[in-house]
Symmetry: C2
Subunit: 358 residues, 2 copies
């Protein structure tokens, strides 16, 4: 099949990882253009990634969107600008893969979904987790009932996020202004995991307890989601605690364990038995990424699976993914908004209207 | 030092394990008598454990308590009779080690603590976890700040408790009538772990979300405890989900992991680093029990550490343990009662008065 022609919007850390990972793709991808908020930044990404002559460098996103040779854009910008750029890209007839979270609230997400459907263009939220081979194995185990019936899951994710001073912006803007709160930045990986495990069923009950900091952003939350037939997800995220980033999946005849990086895993442990010493058997299964290139984020080489999935969708003429559907993205946004409501986390964008969605 | 002369009250599964484990003690213990609700049951325990001629068998607890040669009693009965037997034992001038939970509510616990102080007798709740070498290593790591400052913990415990029909009593009594709810039977291990980690500091905030079954007993709960200086415990128990029974301890420079059976562990994993692939180092430390005898419960051989601790306390003339103090037992009872209040779990004993404490 013909090359998929990408435009990269945003030249920060995640875009670096995404382009790096594309080298390991199985399908033919071609980077046509990259754009940052200034030309130097885009030029720099092109250089450090040793991209070829054919890649055009832009100092504004709009210029890239005007390039008729760009077929699909990857948006790797900070959270609060996703909405406007996605709308602009769709208006320029580009297919879109946008980093998570697609929008900051239900209204923003709904506006983008409507726009993509109206324009008959492909749109997908970039949850790379759903395409990792380890997650595929979990799905197979659950469908084959390898360990019996699924009953519940737990996932945790935590880091010393604040101490990294990651969001000390020069203009003194607070993380919450850019929608970069712990929930919106990484806590949502646990929600995506839960929704994926329960096949995008909407939880019947959402209970969140957490704390805010002095800027109004969340610090941590302990979340219970209840699904049909008494099934549950127990989720935990924290910006002030280093956690294993592990997950387990409880089944009637044992449990599956992702010992670390459940959102981008390379290892699964299958434990048969009912937690009695000497009666369990544990079996580890490895899913090596086989990539010795440098990445900024953990296991970002797995972004290749996401890029290849977008390739397959587009070459099949699909307007959305079956593995990360727009309905799923809307449900995620609803759950996250309800958690924010319970934690009393209000973003400036919650008060705006979508005057620019049209 | 002279032998410690034990009377065993209750000849069920946990008493079997306790007596079995005593064979591995380092101090000289002597079992003087065992008693069950009927003589046959006590005789049977004596036989299966091949206890010597010197062990007197009783068909009632009162008879054992009348034996002047018994110095300390181990109480391994079902939860709801702990209070009455402990009071009777203290009134008979016996020191007491009673299985957890010591009482079903704050009032019961307070009555027993008062009685033991008034009688100047030793009383301890049997949380064997606190004496496992693995827990000692965790304490050492935390005091030495091996991985920096402690910030939070997580612990989970879960089994298919209900499907075992464990509490289908012949007279049709419900588990809740005997105080044998999941929280009172095993969920409390997570509370004990949190309280131990935070050196018996009372949490400033207790938040529990869970569900009840049709009998009024709890099925599961997801609990957050907040301690001073922003430290937290995230605790999870379930009677309808098989879980790894794992725990982790988040510190500023890494985390400690108990991969299974955090309440009776034989393995600790020390992970230095901040959860970045390739920058962590994991080190496993084993604490083998070195005991090939048969036990009913997981790692019950560790009950030997508890028995030896009681020996040390009594031979030093102590009236309570420094590692599992009566103040700790009262705090545990308060936290559990508050969790029950939030979950709306009411025990019949909550409506009674302590007319029999005196």
């Amino acid at each position: 099949m013909s090359h998929l022609r990408w435009g990269i919007i945003g030249c920060g850390q995640i875009s670096f990882d995404f382009v790096q990972a594309m080298r390991k793709c199985v399908h033919p991808h071609m980077i046509v253009a990259i754009a940052a908020s200034n030309w130097e930044k885009a030029k720099n990404l092109k250089q450090v990634l040793c991209l070829g002559e054919g890649v055009t460098v832009y100092g504004s996103y709009e210029e890239l969107l005007a390039n008729a040779n760009v077929e699909v854009v990857y948006i790797g910008l900070v959270n609060h600008v996703h909405h406007d750029i996605v709308i602009k890209a769709l208006n320029r007839d580009k297919h879109v893969l946008c980093e998570k979270p697609l929008g900051l609230n239900v209204r923003q997400v709904h506006g983008m979904v409507q726009k993509s459907r109206q324009k008959k263009l492909f749109l997908m939220e970039g949850f790379h987790s759903r395409f990792f081979p380890c997650w595929n194995q979990i799905r197979t185990d659950l469908e084959n009932k390898t360990l019996g019936e699924l009953t519940s899951i737990h996932a945790n994710i935590g880091s010393d996020y604040f101490s990294e001073n990651r969001f000390h912006t020069p203009d003194g803007a607070k993380p919450i202004d850019s929608g970069s709160t712990p929930l919106m930045d990484f806590g949502l990986y646990t929600i995506n995991f839960a929704l994926w495990i329960f096949k995008d069923e909407m939880p019947q009950k959402i209970i969140a307890y957490g704390r805010k900091d002095e800027t109004g952003a969340d610090k941590f939350a302990n979340i219970t989601l209840e699904f049909s037939k008494g099934k549950k997800a127990f989720l935990l995220y924290s910006a002030e605690d280093i956690m294993p980033n592990s997950a387990f999946i409880s089944c009637t005849d044992g449990h599956l364990l992702i010992p670390e990086f459940f959102h981008c895993p390379t290892r699964l442990i299958r434990v048969r038995g009912k937690q009695k010493v000497g009666e369990n058997s544990a079996e580890g299964i490895e899913f090596p990424l086989e990539d010795d290139a440098f990445y900024i984020y953990n296991n970002s080489s797995g972004l290749r699976y996401e890029a290849d999935h977008v390739f397959e969708c587009l070459r099949k003429g699909r307007k959305e993914s079956d593995l990360m559907s727009l309905e799923t993205t809307e449900k995620l946004a609803e759950i996250i908004q309800e958690i924010r409501r319970q934690l009393d986390i209000v973003l400036p964008q919650d008060k705006q209207t979508n005057h620019d969605s049209t």
